[in-house]
Structure formats: structure tokens, C-alpha cells
Symmetry: C2
Subunit: 352 residues, 2 copies
């Protein structure tokens, strides 16, 4: 069976068509069997393709001129689902004309359009946005939800755990990923009733698809001993941004400190390989590609400011998830857990 | 009128009696007029005081042997409020025998004991835990609540804003502090109904005691353009720990990077003044002293692992808040706002 192709919203993102096409071309070097549907202004896409002949022969162009704005409200964008590059890329997945859509556009609009067009897969009540973050170990940690759902119940959190674990088994770990719930303490009695209930269900659901290791506090997310951090979209968004902002804060302070004297500047130049190593480890382009999990189809969000290497990582995430049949894996895990343990708790399969 | 004295729980904290006493003695050099009630094992306190004769003459010792354990549940600790050093320090404030209590012990127990013994001040429904964090500017930012209240309504958040602003005017800024609500976006429509309602009330309450500047995302907390970040205790705890953890993560990576080659090590040695500057800026001891706001009396929590300089900062915070009459200032702000604008919204003064 041939692999489904990848629809790329060539117009989204701050860096323009050229970066999206270069990124997709870079990804295709690692995943040669993939074909692409490039959605956006035909003339600009063709100009960008001139530098990438191998990409050109693997691509079809779907012309459109309308673009979702970066500040546009999701409700406004939804009305232009049939005319915008983002809307048409998602629609290609809906029609079965592509297996995945990749966009660097407005996250809220992408989420709203994806939910409306693709719907959640059977057994999942709400999709979740998941991203990779660097850790002290070699493996990235996956955190979800990062903002798709401001408020979540225990059942949502359990489903996020199942989806995050399936994602982790494809992109970060072998074997059963270590799953934890984000909380304000690690004692069993900490946090809200929702978290207590979710923890109870996850303890019972621990098995070959994941191992539930209890709660994790926000200062331990990056220590490298957890593979999947599960949380509601509000807390997840707060944690993700706090981590990004704090990392930037420290590196900004460091830059100021290195500029504070001639001696420090010399030290900086000598130790540049070390600071480059740090920069590489923290570069968001190396962890690019947030995924909407739980939809009938794969949707990957690339950072708006990602460079070609960053876009390539986002496209490669889409390719990996298609190669490894993410959606079917989640369905299989849900079925297995649902039949074994969760149905009796009303966690999976019950009417909403 | 002479200043009320400060009760110090000499037994709490990981570093023992000596560090607590040395810290208090250091603080007294900056606040010479203060007297102390030192609560804990008399023999150990007296040994520690031998190095600090000036502190000795300003102190009374209240002997007790019982200590609240670091892992003890608040409900357990509450039963020993009359025998433990923490409980007796708080009780001294309740009796009017001290104006403030400082402890480096178990935060949950300190919170529970303080709430029960001191009660919330008139017009405040719930106390909040507030802490200082470093920013890119010269001023620290104050964030609250950091875990005293897992779930909060709009009215609680408005009260936190008033208390945080009063605290900021004493310790960090002149004039009206810039107050923002922590949210997952800055658009007016973002977040929960609670946040929408709180924002509306705070917009109406903006005046000489604070200026409400809308929402702030977690990656902007440390940029230096906000003085008070207001949030519920769950999100605040997540944000605080994410920031601390991420700062530690980056500095750990930096250490590894500097150790990665001889060349990097040499560069590190040369640029040490720069990295020391960074270390100093991030050292939690320089921002030590979280405060429970909204109680009938001042309670300051020192980090469990703070050194003498850190304890001195926590004690100095207590001294500043007594000198500047924090509790009366909050009461005055509540009264002013309550009469001007908030009473009609049911935010202040209404029955709970």
C-alpha cells in the first residue's frame, strides 16, 4: 500500500513560502517515499520549487490566494475554510486526498478548522495539542494538552494519556512510555478532584501501552525521567510558556553577563563551542512540530517563526506518524484498555 | 509607637537553628530597631546566639522541642499547633506578642496553621501566597497565589490583585504597580469565565493603588514590564515551578557544556565573573521570603534550603511589611476601592 501524501499549507508562518517549501524538501530527503500537496499561491510555490527539483516531481500544487491572518480569530477563520491555504490543506485530509496537514499558521484557527473538518476519532471526546520539549536526557518529553481545551475532566485526561503514549512510542521511546499527570505536588492527595480521579483511572490502566508513574511537578518536566506529561490545556499552556520564557530569560541574562566586560567577552569567544551546544539543545527548531492528537487525520503545527530545518522537523513528524499509523495505534490502545479496564469506569466508549 | 517584634521559628528549614539565627542577626543589622522572639530548643538557640551578641540582647527565647516535619501533612501538623516551634511562632502573632512570624518549615503546614490561627482580615475571603521573582529589569516581579488556593473565583483574584499591589508598593515599586492576570493569551476573550470576570472588575478598579494592564502569558512574567502577576494557586504553582525548573535546566545544560572540553573549561574560568553575575541574579536566596497575604498578621515563608543571607532577606521582608503596615494598607485599599467601585459588583464587602 502506498503512503498517503502530506498537505503543506505553504502560506502560513512568518517566514513565507520559501521556508515552507525548503523545509518540506529537507524532510523528503529523510522520507523519500512521500508525496506532497502544496497549498497556496501557485506562482510563489513554483518559484520556491525551482531550488528543489526532487521536491517538484513529488508535489502537486493546489492554488489559492487567501491566507488566515496571524491575529485572526478562529471563528472568523472558520468562515474561510474553503478558500484559505490552511482550510484547503485540512480539507484535503478530510477528503482522503492527503493523510496529514502541516501548517505554520495561526494555532487557534488551525485547531478550530481541524476539529470541525476532521472530527474526533471514535472513543476520543476532545483532541489535544501535544509538543516535544528538550530534557536533560537524550529523549524529548511530550506534553499535552497545550491549549486545545481550557478545561478538562478526568476522562479527557485519561484519553490524553493514551494518545500521548501512542505518540511517544512512535517518536521518542521504545516500550511503555512513563506517563505522569502535571500537579502541584506528588502526594496522592494533591490537586483537584479531576486529577485524583484521572490518577485512579490511569493507575488501573497501566499496561503494555504505558506505565502511569503518578504526578509530576512543573519543575521536574525537563529532568528526563518522564516521557509524557498529561495536563489540561490551561495548565499545559502556562507550563509550556513558563518553561520557554524562563529558558529565554536565563539565556538573555547570560548574554548580558558575557557582554559585561572585555574579559567576559574573551571567555565567551573561547567557550563558544560550549554555548553553541546549549543553543543547539534549546533551539525550538530542533523540537518543532506540535501535533493535534485524536482527530481523524494527522495535523501538525509548525512554529510560526521556524526556519527550514524547523519546518523539516515538523513535516518529518507528520511523515513518521503516517508511516506508523498513529490514528490506528490510538484506536487499538483505546480498544484494548477499554475492553480490559476502562469501560467499567465509563472512561472509554460510554456516551458523552 | 514601638514596632511589634518578629517571631522566628528557629527549628524549621533544612539548615537548622544556626542558619535561622544568623539570618535574623543579619537582617537586624539593616533593621536595628526590631526585637525578636526566637522559638525552638533553648540550648541550641543559645549556642547559635553566642556568635551574635547584638541579636542576643534583642531577643527573647520561647523554648519548645517539637518540630513540624518536612513531609508532615497539614492536618497532622495542625494538631500540634500548641507544641511545635512553627505553631508557637504563629500563636505569638495571634496573641499580639509579635507582629510577624518567619518560618522555613513545611509550607502546607505553615499555611494551614496561619489560616486557622490568624484568620483572614476583614474584606478578604482567602489568603494568598506571594513570592518575588527576578526579571530582566531591576525590579523583582511579585506573583500570587502560589498554592494556597487550588481553585479561585473572580472575586478571589480581584482581592489577590489588591493585596499584591499593596505588597509591591512596599517592597518593589513607587507609585501604582502594573498588575496583570496570568492567562493563556492576551486577547480579551481568552481564558475561563473567572478570568474574564476578574479582568472586568480589575479594569473598573484601576486607580492610584494599581493599574490593571490586562492579561500576561507565562513566557512574559520575567520580562520586567509587569509588577504583580495574579493567578489562582494551581496555575501560579505550575508557573513558579516551571520557571524555577527551566532556569535550573538551562544552567545545568550550561555547566555540562562548559565541562565538555578543555577549551570550554578555560573559557569558563576566564568568563567566571559573567557566570557569577548570572548565578547571583538567579540565586533564590536573593529573592527569598514568600508572604501569606490577607491574614491578621504577617507570615513569611523562607525557603527550606535558604542560607543565612536568604533567611536575612525573608526576615527583612517581615520587617519592611511591619514598618509599612501592610495589613492596614490593604484594608485602606479595600475600603477605598470597595466604596468607589467594587461594592456594587459584590466584589468587596458582600457576604460570602
Amino acid at each position: 500500500m502506498s503512503l498517503p501524501r502530506i498537505a503543506v499549507d505553504a502560506m502560513g508562518g512568518d517566514e513565507g513560502v520559501r521556508v515552507m517549501i525548503s523545509g518540506a524538501a529537507l524532510a523528503r530527503r529523510r522520507h523519500e517515499q512521500f508525496k506532497f500537496l502544496l497549498v497556496g499561491d501557485q506562482a510563489r510555490i513554483e518559484r520556491a520549487l525551482q531550488a528543489h527539483p526532487n521536491m517538484r516531481e513529488a508535489s502537486e500544487i493546489l492554488h489559492c490566494e487567501d491566507v488566515v491572518g496571524g491575529d485572526e480569530k478562529p471563528t472568523q477563520a472558520l468562515r474561510r475554510a474553503k478558500t484559505t491555504s490552511m482550510g484547503l490543506a485540512i480539507n484535503a485530509v478530510k477528503r482522503g486526498d492527503a493523510g496529514a496537514a502541516v501548517s505554520a499558521g495561526n494555532t487557534g484557527a488551525l485547531m478550530a478548522m481541524s476539529k470541525l473538518a476532521l472530527r474526533t476519532m471514535p472513543g476520543i471526546d476532545r483532541p489535544a495539542l501535544a509538543a516535544l520539549m528538550p530534557t536533560l536526557s537524550d529523549n524529548d518529553v511530550i506534553m499535552l494538552d497545550l491549549g486545545a481545551n481550557t478545561e478538562c475532566d478526568a476522562r479527557n485526561l485519561v484519553q490524553f494519556a493514551i494518545m500521548g503514549a501512542a505518540y511517544a512510542r512512535i517518536v521518542t521511546v521504545e516500550g511503555a512510555p512513563r506517563v505522569r499527570l502535571l500537579n502541584i505536588g506528588t502526594e496522592e492527595t494533591k490537586g483537584t478532584d479531576r486529577l485524583q480521579d484521572a490518577a485512579q483511572m490511569l493507575r488501573e490502566a497501566t499496561g503494555p501501552s504505558f506505565s502511569f508513574d503518578g504526578f509530576v511537578e512543573a519543575d521536574k518536566i525537563n529532568r528526563g525521567d518522564v516521557d509524557v506529561v498529561v495536563t489540561d490545556g490551561f495548565s499545559g499552556n502556562i507550563a509550556l510558556k513558563a518553561i520557554e520564557g524562563s529558558a529565554r530569560f536565563v539565556t538573555d541574562l547570560l548574554k548580558d553577563a558575557f557582554r559585561s566586560s572585555v574579559r567576559s567577552k574573551i571567555g565567551f569567544l573561547i567557550s563558544r563551542p560550549a554555548t553553541e551546544l546549549l543553543r543547539h539543545h534549546l533551539d525550538p527548531n530542533n523540537h518543532n512540530g506540535a501535533v493535534f492528537l485524536g482527530l481523524n487525520g494527522v495535523v501538525v503545527k509548525s512554529h510560526g517563526s521556524a526556519n527550514a530545518a524547523g519546518v523539516a522537523n515538523a513535516v518529518a513528524v507528520a511523515a513518521r506518524l503516517l508511516e506508523e499509523n498513529l490514528t490506528e495505534r490510538i484506536a487499538a490502545d483505546l480498544a484494548e484498555l477499554g475492553e480490559a479496564r476502562l469501560r467499567e469506569n465509563g472512561t472509554v466508549g460510554a456516551e458523552k
